[in-house]
Each structure stands twice: as structure tokens, then as C-alpha cells.
């Protein structure tokens, strides 16, 4: 564990140094990301303040749905940025070298490239989320449930990224797959309740982004039954197992064509 943490720290340092080499681009991306957040936040605020409710959720509640989505999404961007670069490792054969190293390949290909930009942005995002949480009347127990379910969301995010890596080996297609994941998660920037059945069911239980983004906030507002809480953890477990199964299968089929 200590060795893995040391490697993770080393890779993160390299990633930060690489990103800081492109200062102009870094600033432009930072401005773009802040602008996107501000406008989208203002849009939701403006829209729901004019209509008063979104499917029964108050303005503050809707904002917390959006901010929680943003928090989880940014956190997974910080951790799993390296997945976006996986395709080249496969098609140029560099992945062989990683498999030969005496550490788990996930340390390099899954979490080996911490995103500096998002690591910086998570601070203001967290503060805004914290501000709205204080403004909303929630009890301590619900905050505990909310926090545990956010950790649960990160496990789902990890599983999604492992699936993308596995598909990357099987099909050499990573760019579109990861962007589809991003698009699917963006569908839950607002509560999954906005979708009609069967889409809502699919988004909650089959592609569990509803559990990832909506369920933690529902727990916060005490809108979650104990059964649903247990089911959320169960589905996460199944999903993680499935992603690891797919990864092992992909590794067996890997032919090292690029090297």
C-alpha cells in the first residue's frame, strides 16, 4: 500500500509538472471551466426561481442536486484523467511496458494523471456546495448518509472508468466511450426524476448514474427509504464486480498488437 501511494504521488507530480508546462492553455481551460460552471449555475438558478419548483424540488434543493453532481464529476475528473490518454498506450504498444511493471496497472492507467485544473476548481465548488448545505435545513444523520453515498458514487465512477479501459483494450475505442460516459453523467446534473419511465429505471438501475448523482441528495433530504439505500450499495457492488470481470476478460484478449 505504501509503495502504491508513493508511485501515485510520483505520477501525480509528473502530471502536474506536464500540465504546468502549458500555462497559456491551462489558464484558458480554467477560464472556460469557470465560465461554464457560472453560466450553468445561473441558468438553473434563474429558471427554477421563475418556475418556483422543479418536480416538487425547491430552488435550493435543485441547486444542491446540481452542485453535488458537479462535485462528484469534478472529483472523478481529478482522479481518472489518465483514462483519456489510454488509447495511445494500447495502439502504440506502450501498455506492454506498464503490464510488466511490478505494480498494479490501474495505478498508472486509471489514477496516474491527477488533473491540476479540477484539483484547483474542487475548492470553490466544495465551498459553494457547503454554503447551500448550510442554507438548507438538513439533519446530521442525513449528512452522514449523504457523505457515505458520495463515496459510493466514487466507486461507481471508478467502475465506469474501468469499463472504459476494458473497452479500450477490446475495441481500441476510448475517446468516444469516455465522452459517452461524460454525456450520460451530465444527464443527471438535475434529479433523475425529470426522465420518464423506462428511461428513469435504466438510468437508475442499469446504468447506475441515478444512484451516483441523485440518490445521495435524496438521502440528504430524507427522501430515501432504507430498502433503496441498501439496494444502492448492492447495485454498486454488482457494478464494480462487473467492471472488474470485464477488465480481466479484456486483459486475457489483449494481443499487444501495437508493440
Amino acid at each position: 500500500m505504501k509503495k502504491n501511494l508513493k508511485i501515485f504521488w510520483l505520477l501525480s507530480k509528473f502530471s502536474m509538472k506536464t500540465m504546468l508546462d502549458h500555462r497559456v492553455g491551462l489558464i484558458a481551460f480554467l477560464v472556460g471551466k469557470i465560465f461554464r460552471f457560472v453560466v450553468f449555475f445561473t441558468f438553473i438558478y434563474y429558471l427554477v426561481s421563475k418556475t418556483n419548483y422543479l418536480l416538487g424540488y425547491t430552488l435550493n434543493q435543485t441547486i444542491i442536486f446540481f452542485l453535488t453532481f458537479n462535485f462528484i464529476d469534478t472529483l472523478s475528473q481529478i482522479l481518472f484523467r489518465e483514462v483519456y490518454r489510454f488509447r495511445n498506450l494500447v495502439i502504440f504498444g506502450e501498455f506492454d511496458n506498464i503490464l510488466l511493471k511490478p505494480h498494479h496497472p490501474f495505478i498508472r492507467i486509471l489514477i496516474g494523471g491527477v488533473d491540476v485544473l479540477d484539483a484547483f476548481l474542487i475548492i470553490p465548488y466544495s465551498l459553494i456546495l457547503f454554503y447551500f448545505l448550510i442554507k438548507t435545513n438538513v439533519n446530521f444523520l442525513n449528512i452522514i448518509h449523504y457523505s457515505i453515498l458520495i463515496i459510493n458514487s466514487l466507486i461507481i465512477a471508478t467502475s465506469f472508468h474501468i469499463i472504459v479501459l476494458a473497452l479500450g483494450i477490446l475495441t481500441t475505442e476510448v475517446d468516444h466511450t469516455i465522452m459517452i460516459y461524460r454525456d450520460i453523467t451530465r444527464m443527471t446534473a438535475l434529479p433523475v426524476d425529470i426522465y420518464k419511465e423506462p428511461l428513469r429505471f435504466i438510468l437508475t438501475f442499469l446504468i447506475p448514474i441515478g444512484i451516483m448523482m441523485t440518490i445521495p441528495v435524496k438521502a440528504l433530504f430524507n427522501l430515501l427509504s432504507t430498502q433503496m439505500l441498501i439496494l444502492s450499495f448492492f447495485i454498486t457492488f454488482i457494478f464494480l464486480e462487473f467492471s472488474l470481470f470485464l477488465w480481466k476478460m479484456a486483459l486475457k484478449k489483449y494481443q499487444s498488437v501495437g508493440s
Binding site: F29, F35, V39, T51, E173, D183
Partner: protein, 263 residues
Amino acid sequence: MKKYFTIFYILLKQYFVYRLSFILWRLRNLLGLFFLYSLWTSLSNQKTQIFSYTPDKLVSYVLLTNILSSIILTTRTADVASEIRSGDLANYLIKPLSFLKYILSRELVDKLINSLFAIFEIIFLIAIFKPTIFIQKNIITYLMFFLAIIIATTIFFSISLTLSFIAFWSAEIWAPRFIFFVLISLIAGTLFPLDILPSSIFNLLIITPLPYLIFFPAKIYLHGFSHQQLTPFIISIIWSLILFKTMVFVWKLGIKNYNVYGR
């Protein structure tokens, strides 16, 4: 002209080689459409009118902007930046063809394929959800609507290609494009009809070229063309001319000092 038709035909065939890639791209588009459609229908189910939009006009706006995005905002001009940086541009320059006309042929193929798929996707969505949609019946409005689409396409093509030409001078080619796309996704009208914003912000936005990309053509279709839209229409024509001229100027400036080694 014949050679550009041949290029058009060859590029069209290329799309059927990389089928998975294209299908996944359209799937992404469909997911975005599901989100916006569901958001606006949830809001319109609560009230009979949101801002100045009735539910059928709001739903029509979402579906229409999806088709408009597929016509106006799909582009291959981003590839030009990589071609400049890698030196592949030289392969086009030594051929007996105009590079800008070649790019235009490539754009037309991209827009044709994406528009066709977008129409199928909308039909699919209508078949599933059966929403009430608004159908415009005025011929003049249709004429002005198509003109607005041509203007919007020119504006987008010019800006996008100018951004790619940054590659003549700098390696930072993705950051300006990222900002451009963030701006488009927020203030071109793809997310929401811009006239729901407070009038002070709206009046400020219509001085810029971005609302003429999606919002303005959609507005003409939904509300008809009236004398009130004459001024914005003229503004959009002026913007398209300025931006097109700028793009040609930047191209000439960039190509004058372009060096490719090792080829």
C-alpha cells in the same frame, strides 16, 4: 468544380468506413437531446406557459435546435489545426486544388451526414414521446429561416476555421476552441431560448455573433419573420461578412510564413 464533387463523394464514403466512431458520436448527441427534452417537458408540465413559450413551442425549440446544431455546428475545421501543426497541410498545398474549397467540401459532407442522422433521431424521439410540436405554415418565414441558417453556417465556419489558423503561430490550439465551444453551448441558444433572459442581458448578447448561430434561426421558425427581426437579421449578415473576411485574411497571413520541414 468536378474535382470537388469527387472529393465530396470520397469523403462521404469515408464515413461508412469509420461507422462505430460516427454512431457513437451521434449517440452522444442523442443523450444531450434526451436531457434537454426531459428538462423542458418537466418544467412545462408544471405551467401552461414558461416565460413567453407555450409547452409545444418549447418542445419544438428543443427539437429544432438539435437539427440546427447538426447543420450549423458540426464541423471538420478543427482538423485543420492538427494538419497545420503536423505539416500535413503541405499535402494539400501542392495539389492542384483550392484548400479552402476542399475544406468546404469536407464541411458539406459532415453537415449532410449529421443532419440526416439528426432528422432520424428526432423522428425516433417523436415516435417514443409523442410530443405536441409546432409546425410553421408561412412560406416567407421558411425562406427567411433558410437564409438565417446559411448566415449562421457562414459565421460558425469562419470563426471555427480562424481558430484553427492559430496553429500557424501557436501550439495552444485546443484551449481557444474549448472556450469557443463553452461559449456556444451557453449563449448560442442550444441550451435554452435566449429571450427568456432579462432584457438587459439579451440586448447585450444580440450584439455578438453567437446568438445568430442557433437561437435566431429557431426564433424565426417559431415566431415568424416580422419587421422586428430585420435589425438582428442585418446584424447577422454584417457579422458573417466581417468574420468570413477575417478568416480569409488570417489564412493568407498564416500561409505566407508557413514552413514545413522533413517532407
